[in-house]
Symmetry: C2
Subunit: 426 residues, 2 copies
């Protein structure tokens, strides 16, 4: 005889959102494996093809069609295995039709649990979905799964995805610095690496971890939080070359001058006179060349940095999996409108745990690099920043390699049969 009090078994839905990371699929694995472990409570786990867009268009993926082995391989596969989306829903008032459509799709597929893996915007969306569910009397547990290379979510000590990009940038800075040091006598004297972080300097700060002693590269870090001032910057470059023979500069893509102009937008025009978004690194290179005449090289890591699963942080992979797992556990415990956050218990030895935080507290809030993490001169990181950052890049977790290359999984991503007659254009 069935215990009548047992909660009814319902389906679940998982969606990836925003810019992907080296470890967002580890979170997906955490969600999927934990749902599978609770098959008494959760029926099918679906995924939105390209995130919320797939939900709106009822283009769902049946994750139960993927083998245990394929889901295991998500642990070591970068980017979004189900596709992500940059698609921000506005307020319930402005986008009411879309929110109602989401509930319509949920209802058609008996979705009782929604796991939304993203950043600030996505936490806001998840919160609104929980509200519209209540308003329309559709019972749904909306749980966020934190993710962003930018590390700019509040409450959580760090964001899954950040530790791996931080490690990639610190490793690359150390390697490129050895290269420039080799060449500086007769050739390149200034090397510039542009890193991500449109609004917050967390990734740029991570490059500072490559220093082992005073005078080591990077010699100058340019943060979006610190207004760029050409004169003091060039003076610092000159001093650095005089002192060390070369200068390694890490520049955040989001660096701005005092008047709010992005460096990346400054100066250059194409052959037709159109303003050219040339990147912060080439613009810094131009200033160095014109101001000081040094030979330079510059690199822009772009997607390479956030997709670099081959040199992911083991800590980051573990945390990404843990937040996926915890999201499902929170849902099963009856939580709603929360997300798992990482709580730091100690720096050294590094110990951390998971707690639940309300989506409300995280939605649309941006955590910038605190001023005391930046040296007084604005060009480096402090001991406090090091203490915070160091454990996040700790440990290696290499993917398996085959024929000299990482053996990443591509899922079958088999579609769930549509139940609704209506189409929805996004």
């Amino acid at each position: 005889m069935k215990a009548s009090k047992a909660p009814r078994k319902r389906n679940a839905l998982y969606a990836q959102s925003g810019g992907v990371t080296a470890v967002i699929n580890a979170s997906a694995a955490g969600v999927i494996e934990t749902c599978r472990a609770h098959s008494n409570r959760i029926g099918k786990l679906y995924a939105g093809r390209h995130g919320i867009v797939g939900v709106l268009t009822e283009d769902l993926i049946d994750t139960s069609r993927e083998s245990i082995k394929a889901i295991r391989a998500l642990h070591h596969t970068p980017a979004g295995a189900f596709g992500s989306a940059r698609y921000k829903l506005k307020s319930i008032e402005q986008d009411r039709l879309k929110y109602e459509r989401l509930i319509e799709v949920f209802r058609a597929h008996d979705i009782g649990y929604f796991f939304y893996n993203g950043g600030n915007d996505s936490m806001d969306t998840a919160l609104k979905i929980s509200k519209i569910g209540a308003e329309l009397h559709y019972p749904i547990a909306c749980i966020g799964v934190p993710k962003t290379v930018d590390n700019d979510l509040p409450i959580t000590d760090c964001c899954p995805g950040f530790g791996s990009v931080a490690k990639y940038i610190a490793v690359s800075t150390r390697e490129a610095a050895l290269d420039v040091a080799s060449m500086a006598r007769t050739s390149t004297k200034v090397f510039i690496l542009e890193v991500m972080g449109r609004h917050a300097g967390w990734i740029a700060a991570a490059s500072g971890l490559s220093q082992q002693k005073s005078g080591d590269a990077p010699h100058i870090i340019l943060f979006p939080e610190i207004p760029f001032e050409q004169k003091s910057f060039l003076a610092r470059v000159k001093d650095c070359v005089a002192r060390h023979g070369f200068c390694v500069i890490v520049v955040s893509e989001g660096v701005k001058t005092k008047d709010g102009t992005f460096l990346a937008e400054a100066g250059t025009r194409d052959a037709f006179g159109h303003a050219q978004l040339g990147g912060a690194a080439p613009e810094i290179a131009r200033l160095v060349k014109e101001g000081l005449g040094y030979k330079y090289h510059w690199a822009v890591a772009d997607y390479l940095q956030r997709a670099a699963r081959h040199v992911a942080s083991k800590t980051d992979v573990e945390q990404a999996y843990a937040v996926g797992k915890a999201a499902v556990e929170f849902a099963l415990k009856g939580h709603n409108a929360v997300l798992p956050v990482i709580v730091r218990k100690s720096d050294k030895p590094y110990r951390w745990g998971i707690a639940a935080a309300p989506l409300e507290a995280v939605a649309n809030v941006e955590k910038k690099l605190p001023r005391h993490f930046v040296t007084r001169d604005g060009f480096g990181i402090t001991a406090a920043a090091r203490r915070y950052l160091a454990p996040l890049i700790a440990g290696e977790d290499y993917p398996p390699f085959k024929d000299g290359l990482p053996d990443y999984v591509v899922l079958k991503n088999i579609a769930v049969k549509r139940k609704l007659k209506s189409n929805f254009k996004v």
Copy 2:
């Protein structure tokens, strides 16, 4: 009683030249450890500080002051541990004073063996030094040690340094392609990665190894050997986005239009109207944006690719060490004006050996990508190219990590006491 026929023990000199690689220090380790193993024949091994510049200025490093452990660590440390130089000597006629100075320094330090680790130019210099030595009746064995990420030396099947940059680019292309595929539905549709290779397309070709099946990224490779034609290129991008939803492009820094203009030099002007060397990737991005309107992202790997010891090819590391070791063995066998080259014995299983080749055959000769390695349409690599390239990226050889970062060695580089009174300005 000493055997009077044993050759007199003499000192040796090692110098690094040109752009450094992830494995040039593995060659250095091969030279140093093999010299140490033959201490009955070779006295001290010195190194030029910043290559030939250190030799000319009598700024030599005593490698015997480095511990066994430090030299071992060169196996896994990228870039030039003694400093490299971009410093080309002209003909003996034009630069006679410099060549004579080299012999003067050799004589002062009783250098009987000179190991020069570089590319085409350096092999030419080594050859000329052997000639001036003979002319001035100074007995010296000049042995080249091949090195170049560009893979453009003739005779040798491949060049140490290339396999690791090839692996880095293939890995990065595969990773970034997964990222773009995730984002393409609502955001980035075109991703462009600029790679090194000013004159030869070997590195660009290596990106093709990331393909596992037809339709995989990179969808378009732009080689310096194939003149860039905007119309057919844009048509291919458009077709690719229609077919796959996104397009991954790998562009060599050396791509030129039919009239010989580098793409990297095309189009852009700075605020003052000066032509801007903006990089090939941003220029391709501009063409895509203006011609097709797609959202794009671009990356320029620059030094990151050739310094990336963290994801070096095991095959490459082994070959780099082997050519260093063989150089010393050749010298001890009485060879002069030769370099060790890599001989391929079979593709699959990959088997290779080392042979001696005359410097004369390698000096100043550039090996381009053969046309039959490029598909007829000019945008991809053939099966023949794959057969050639695949073994070169095989195997991983991770450096040790400490605190989340590769534990690279920085040598003490203690100077040898000067013996000459004359200074030499370079």
